[in-house]
Amino acid sequence: MADDDREQSEGAVSRRAFLKGGAAATGALSATLMPGVAEAQLPLAKDADPRLTTVDLRVNGVAYRKEVPNSRTLVEFIREDLKLTGTKVGCDRAMCGACTVILNGRNVYACSMLAVEVSGGDVTTIEGLGTTDALHPIQQAFIEKSGFQCGFCTSGQIMSTKALLDKMPRPTEDDARLLMSGNLCRCSAYKRILESVMTASRLLQA
């Protein structure tokens, strides 16, 4: 969409179209960092406006560089700047898990991290897992076991499953319940989500 009608006022938000893959410098990113800790590159506040910062982020394997307000959360960056709307916002307070993404190998609540804080990081969202034509085994498992009802929490459930199985490929059901406890499902399809996690573990082993 055209952005020409979006005014920029003092201290207000600039929402210029994102530069897809436009940042060569992001090649130096390390995927082994702790969440949000960038050793290689520390984004520096611009002299002009200390409330805007250039953020470098690798999302689903694509490097992005974008100037955003410091108050931009990671989930806003993902949904609004990158237009990746598979990640949902259910509470915006780290209290539901719908916004769960994987940052540098760990599942986190994207609503409660700042984009500037995670600059230099590596993010995987639901869009980075599988596509409608080439489903990831975890997505296959959630379909096979019907691990959802309304689907609004599902992206987050699947990303937590990914983090869980990356860390613990053969969880017991009790392990899975513990490690999935940070994702609410209001439809309470928990029985089938649990079965989906266990099935995904088997599919990934196969």
Partner: protein, 757 residues
């Protein structure tokens, strides 16, 4: 699992298992919910809300907000139509606010941050008014009045059968108890969202609604639009549970802003807004008096209920029909006082008052059974209505119909066997050693279904693929899938050929929407009718091509065949391409149930709990939900609904009460951390056991019954009854907190640990 083989050999699709047809969209994040939609030039809206529970706005100045760069429209109650929202007393905005969180102004700006800042620049002068939060207080003389005609919403709905006073005189034993379900959060994962787009006089709105046609009715009224000039789309909806079953102020606010700004506007509620302003589960205080005879029959029941509707109510609240439709009771009276108070909006939630009524009624029945030394299950079985029993056709209590296809007894017997009811300790609280006490409880529920008008359209394309359009929505109930399975069964076209257009008022005929156990039966029958219409057209087109009469034809696997002749057949795609025109069939039905026969959808829950008498913790050891599901259309979806609904019902025993400070009327815990909906750790999903009792309906498509609401009802009563069985402590208010359990145990044994400083 009580899975049964498909007994009807003629069914190929109905009764099978399988994933939802939209599963790929839901697991890849490609399903577009309202908040995911972005239109060119779209603005973002925020709503200014009252900090007072009751006030008149005596002055408002929006000039500073309007002057803020990036602000494109500011509206206040002055801009709002003076018309109530469909089904409610609430105006979209008013100069009188009646609960903390009621909106009275809104801003549309180029981004949310600007809209937020603009809100804080609006200057308001309130004249605070006295407020009332308790429904009984609100009926007392001198109570603050919310409306010119008082706080009582119309006449209290009354059912009278026989004479309860005489019935109590005749009874061998009478008890009276009071039960309370507080105002409880009942929302879904996706908060309300609405996007309004005006193109000339035409309004297109994407919103998160269960009933797009109800929103449509509201919008055409609010803006005086022709039906054709209003289109409502609710394609993917992230849960509803009743909170989205009626139009809400958010849709109208978005449309007002969009009209004023001349640009599309998105209004996405925050979680806090969603909790404060979204028709939550209403408080009910129930005075229950029951009288029984020594032969275990219920002689008289008197129910007096105070229903706290909050400031406004999306359509009229009330209890369910358990007292009138589930048990045979000689003398019956129910009075329901629907009262307005200065707390948040309320509405129906997964049963209009059914969970609340079930808690009151099934608790008091358990209490009197225990007092009489009866087995509570035998007591239920003595009194439940069975096939052929008189039953009200409507909600008046007059038993003018005949009950058919009632599965209550099946549910009770199968559930009891699965849980092992015979293990129940006949002397509650006795014989337990150590801090942890175990007990067993049960509760029974019921509900109708399939009411109202429904419509659907089925189109067969030239290549033989099928598009099915309906204006009810799939809010997670799997209706895209089950409705497609019904059409697939009728047509003989595999499910893989189907695409659904759900929740679009322009694409499909009128339909009442997805609530009240109705979609599968009502929209389902419309789909069945539309598919049969298509099938006849297919046969009419194919008959000359196959040199046969239409009546000789059948279709299986998208191939039209002459019955009994293996040689003469033609692929549907070929029939269609030769025909050269698509085939459209439509179905429109009015209420699934007609005539004297009355069909209900019952269920019975059984639970074993462990009560930690030192910490007050209640743990579910085993839970059985046995439900009459009619003919299951998709067993996977049936079980998923029953499992999820059961846990959602159990959630009410643990937390989810909205807490209001009596000093200022504010809700203190409008967030997930403080409302505490269950995680996967809370109720071990592995101990939830489902029995889908196959008990075909006379009305639903292929004998299906709607079932989405019922599993949500009995949890509170079943758990309370089990806690009593374990400990002898009777809890009459949900949720069952540590304080309640420990206090109950302390009163039981005054010497025990109730140290106070």
């Amino acid at each position: 699992m009580a899975q049964q083989q498909n007994q009807n050999a003629t069914l190929n699709v109905v009764g099978t298992r399988g994933p939802n047809i939209d599963a790929i969209a839901r697991v890849t994040g490609t399903a577009k919910y309202t908040g995911d939609i972005e239109l060119p030039g779209m603005l973002h809206a925020r709503v200014l809300r009252s900090p007072h529970p009751h006030a008149r706005i005596v002055g408002i100045d929006t000039s500073k907000a309007e002057a803020l760069p990036g602000v494109k429209a500011v509206i206040t109650y002055k801009d709002a139509p003076k018309l109530p929202i469909w089904g409610s007393r609430q105006f979209v905005m008013n100069d009188r606010v009646r609960f903390v969180g009621e909106g009275f102004a809104a801003v549309a700006a180029t981004d949310l941050e600007t809209a937020d800042r603009a809100l804080r620049l609006i200057q308001v002068q309130f004249e605070q008014l006295p407020f009332v939060m308790d429904p009984e207080e609100a009926l007392k003389p001198g109570a603050p009045q919310l409306f010119p005609d008082g706080n009582l919403e119309g006449q209290a709905r009354a059912v009278t059968r026989g004479s309860v006073e005489q019935g109590f005189k005749e009874s061998d034993r009478v008890i009276e108890r009071v039960y309370r379900c507080p105002t409880m959060w009942s929302g879904s994962m996706e908060p309300h969202a609405a996007i309004a787009l005006w193109e000339g006089a035409k309004l297109t709105m994407w919103c998160s609604a269960q009933s797009p046609n109800r929103v449509h009715m509201n919008m055409t009224q609010q803006f005086d639009l022709s039906d054709a000039n209003c289109r409502i789309i609710s394609s993917y909806v992230g849960g509803g549970f009743g909170t989205k079953s009626a139009p809400h102020v958010d849709e109208t606010i978005a449309a007002l802003l969009a009209k004023k700004a001349g640009r599309p506007v998105k209004l996405q509620y925050t979680r806090e807004e969603e909790i404060l302003d979204s028709n939550t589960r209403f408080e009910v205080k129930m005075y229950m008096r029951v009288g029984v005879m020594k032969d275990m029959s219920i002689r008289a029941l008197d129910v007096r209920a105070y229903i706290n509707q909050g400031a406004y109510h999306s359509r009229l609240g009330g209890l369910g029909n358990h007292a009138t439709h589930l048990y045979n009771i000689t003398h019956l009276r129910t009075q329901q006082f629907r009262v307005h108070t200065n707390i948040a909006n309320t509405g129906p939630t997964r049963g209009v008052g059914d969970p609340q009524e079930c808690f009151g009624l099934d608790s008091v029945l358990d209490e009197i059974a225990n007092e009489m030394g009866w087995d509570p299950m035998a007591f239920r079985l003595k009194n439940i209505k069975r096939n052929g029993d008189p039953v009200p056709r409507g909600q008046t209590g007059v038993e003018d119909g005949v009950l058919i296809n009632q599965g209550a007894e099946l549910c009770i017997n199968q559930g009891a066997a699965r849980l092992g009811w015979n293990r129940r300790n006949p002397t509650p609280g006795a014989g337990q050693s150590g801090p942890k006490a175990r007990g067993i409880g049960m509760a029974v529920t019921e509900r109708g279904g399939g009411a109202g008008l429904a419509g659907a359209e089925v189109k067969i394309n030239l290549d033989g693929s099928v598009v099915m359009s309906f204006a009810s929505t799939d809010i997670g109930t799997g209706s895209r899938t089950t409705l497609s399975m019904i059409a697939s069964e009728v047509l003989g076209v595999p499910l893989s050929k189907f695409l659904t257009v759900a929740g679009d008022t322009e694409a499909a005929p009128y339909d009442g929407g997805s609530q009240g156990n109705r979609t599968l039966q009502s929209t389902g029958r419309a789909v069945e009718q539309a598919a049969r219409d298509c099938l006849q057209q297919v046969f009419a087109a194919a008959a000359p091509l196959l040199k046969a009469m239409p009546a000789e034809l059948e279709m299986r696997d998208s191939v039209v065949r002459v019955r009994g002749d293996a040689q003469r057949m033609m692929a549907l795609s070929e029939v269609m391409s030769r025909r050269g025109r698509s085939i459209v069939g439509d179905g429109n039905v009015a209420g699934a149930q007609t005539g004297m026969n009355v069909e209900r959808t019952p269920g019975a829950h059984f639970v074993e709990v462990e009560v930690d008498r030192e910490t007050g913790k209640v743990r579910i050891l085993k839970y059985v939900s046995a439900h009459d599901v009619g003919q299951p259309i998709n067993l996977t979806i049936v079980e998923n609904q029953l499992e999820g609904g059961t846990i959602q019902g159990l959630a009410l025993t643990q937390a989810e009460e909205m807490r209001f400070d009596p000093r200022d009327g504010k809700c203190l815990n409008a967030n997930f951390l403080d409302l505490k909906p269950p995680t996967m750790m809370d109720f071990d999903p592995r101990v939830i056991d489902i029995i889908a009792v196959d008990n075909k309906s006379a009305f639903g498509p292929f004998g299906a019954k709607g079932l989405g609401e019922n599993p949500n009802h009995p949890g509170m009563a079943a758990v309370a009854n089990a806690i009593y069985n374990a400990t002898g402590v009777r809890l009459r208010e949900v949720p069952f907190t540590r304080a309640d359990v420990l206090q109950g145990l302390g009163q039981q044994r005054p010497a025990a640990q109730t140290a106070r400083g």
